[in-house]
Amino acid sequence: MQTMKKDRIYRKMPGSAGTAFRKYGRPLFVFAAAILAAGCFRDLGNYDYTDINEAVIGDSGFSSPYNIRINETLSIRPDITFTLDPDGTGDYTYEWVAVGQTLYRGERFTIGTGRDLDYVMKLDADNYILYLKVTDNATGIVYSKDVELNVMSPYSTGWMMAGEAGGKGQVDMMSISGDVIFYTGAVTMEDGISLGPIECIWVDNDTYTSDDRVYIGTASGSYKLDRSSFSGSAAGDIKYSFAIDPGEDTYSLTDSEQVRTDTAPLRHSVIINGRAYIVSTEGGMIENSFSFYEDADGNQRDIHVADRIICNHSQSGCRTMVFYNTDDREFCYISGLSVEGMKTLGDGEDDLFSWKTGNDFPETGGLDFVSCCNSFFSNGQSAAILKVPDTDTYYIYCITANRNQPDMIKNGRYAVDNGTAPGFGDSPSYAMTTNHGYMLYASGNTLYGYNFRKEPQECTVLHTFDAPVCFIMADNETEEKYDDCIYVATYDDSRERSGILYKFRMTDSPDRMELTLAETWDEGLLKIHDMYYKTF
């Protein structure tokens, strides 16, 4: 029956087409069905494999990051074996490709096409991933291996040391990578600009606001320098960075501190000509000064502030900054990310001192600001050194600028015993140690450790140098910032380029101050007035 039925169907097809279908249709349907089935068929694999020639790139030369300066030679001799070509005589091509990670994120730079790499570094300073790609031209298969490559300009990473050489402003660089190299006279100024002694140096170490963000401040003008070359020009005059030019003849930058959230640095505060400003992340533009008080009706009164910022780097984030209002001789502050003028601080009944120094020293209308230092001691204490006007009577105000306003802590006010701490007011700068909060200061060639909290106070000669001390700083910036590292610079004014930098480690205890000399760099340095660490 089935056969008869099929015949009948076939006969209904037109003429010889039916014949053709009878003859070819069945295979055609089988073929089409096979194609359709293949679409749903899982490939369970049943193949014969043929070995291919595989390039195996060994770890040699790829096991640790390369830190290299521009113009140094990067040499890598890779260990490459070929599984089917032990002599390596096949047809292979090699390519060394550096892919930018930070400033040149994603950009590719081919720096070699041979098996071995010998490349005089001409890439711009950045972090790269360096890939070696080996192509077997017989199969077209590419094998690769990568390693971290950090290219640094001479001025990429290390301590910027600013001050004066031959009476002119200059910066020396302690370049730190695998080794330490000193570069002297790093700053070049165009347009005939002659810098006065540099009193303040600061760099924005954040990558997304990094262009031209090396700031130098002198009494006669301040500039932004190119961060790679340290070159400056008239166009970098900080007066061009103001959103609204305050209209003064010169602008002297004396301090800068970055506002930080828990995870990232943001804009920074600066003090210029005794007024405080926020530098926006938008092109480094300087906003209007926030050195003013605003009354309940919104009326604003401008004030001037001392040349240094009190803040706390030991806490997560840094949004609170304390200033000393030199007009009213009182402390004031800003806090948070929205800055609407300075806020005054309230006093409690039993407070150790008044934020308004005139309340404690009414006969002189308050105290004058001398200097300040920020530390990691006791969750970030800062010390403001004030003095009674026209006297040699000094006070140390210890303050903790907590992140969250208005919780500003008065840790204590201490009168300096000049008999115990000789020459305290002469110090070019001050530092407070991390572990026990001792004050370090210098007078002449002598570095002192001053335990001003103890009764009676104690002062210890920590070190005597061959030349007068010109700068003291506790490292609050690098990975050693919790290790109580102290930098002291000396300079003999009778000899050019006589600057020496010393690095100490405090090994103090509650009862005893000890200083261990870790490094001495007698590198013909300038007379250092300020230092700041540059991270890239």
Binding site: P14, G15, A17, A243, I244, E282, G283, M285, E287, G298
Partner: protein, 262 residues
């Protein structure tokens, strides 16, 4: 019957069958790219000043010509058009006319429109230059000239409305040019920093901040706009404290800066 059935050889039958299958398959994989086969058309292509990625597809039916930003007494406004359909290898004419019911510009404010404006051969975009004059009667005033495209032998008007977004359609065969000789809100005027716009405030802003109106021709960096807003806010508060509260033109509303200055 069989004599009328065309004899097909088995191989040829399979060939045709295969060809048919390939044709069907090919159709299934081909994009349906429909080309414009209609008549030649034209519309106004006045782009919206917008920073959006797809800004080239957004059109406006109004444009401004503020004489206040220039020192000139005459300005040529180029009204841009775009064609629909194929480009032509010959010059074509574009016709426009004034829409009287939507025009209050005086005859002295602009040169009479031409009977036709030439779109050169091969052009997709064209422009219709209209010359405006800064007349004495325009001072402190704002007037408008509305024109519409007119069908002619070269161009039809196959579309009248352009879809800027799902809820915004604009008329692209009619366009209004607002001419003025007074302070108008320019791109650099950020309401968030300067507050609601008014002519009086604009004039005061320029005086207090020492700026030119042309400083507002383009958007300012927000840091700068904020700084100007703060300075203006301070001025207003100082005036108020001195008993000279500054009011808007109505004499009642106190003039303020923007709400985002701090």
């Amino acid at each position: 019957m069989e004599r009328h059935i065309k004899t097909i050889r088995p191989a040829a039958a399979m060939l045709r069958l295969s060809a048919a299958m390939m044709a069907v398959s090919a159709v299934a994989c081909t994009d349906n790219l429909e080309k414009y086969n209609g008549e030649a058309g034209i519309y106004f292509a006045m782009r919206v000043e917008d920073s959006a990625v797809n800004t080239d597809t957004l059109y406006s039916e109004t444009s401004s010509l503020p004489f206040i930003v220039t020192d000139d007494d005459m300005a040529v406004f180029n009204l841009k058009v775009k064609i629909l359909g194929a480009v032509s290898d010959r010059d074509r004419q574009i016709s426009i006319e004034v829409v009287p019911e939507e025009t209050d510009a005086l005859a002295e404010d602009y040169d009479p429109l031409l009977p036709g404006y030439t779109l050169p051969a091969g052009a997709v975009f064209g422009s219709i230059p209209i010359t405006f004059h800064r007349t004495a009667s325009l001072e402190g005033q704002e007037r408008r000239l509305t024109v519409r495209l007119v069908e002619n032998s070269d161009f039809a008007l196959p579309i009248t409305m352009w879809r800027n977004s799902s809820d915004e359609y604009v008329n692209v065969v009619r366009h209004t040019i607002v001419i003025s000789d007074k302070y108008v809100q320019l791109p650099g005027y950020a309401v968030g920093y300067f507050g609601p716009f008014s002519e009086k405030k604009m004039a005061l802003l320029l005086e207090v901040l020492g700026l030119e109106i042309s400083d507002f021709n383009e958007e300012m960096p927000y840091t700068q706009a904020k700084a100007y807003g703060q300075k203006f806010d301070r001025y207003l508060k100082e005036q108020k404290a001195a008993g000279n509260t500054v009011y808007e033109e109505d004499g009642v509303t106190e003039m303020t800066a923007g709400e985002y200055i701090y």
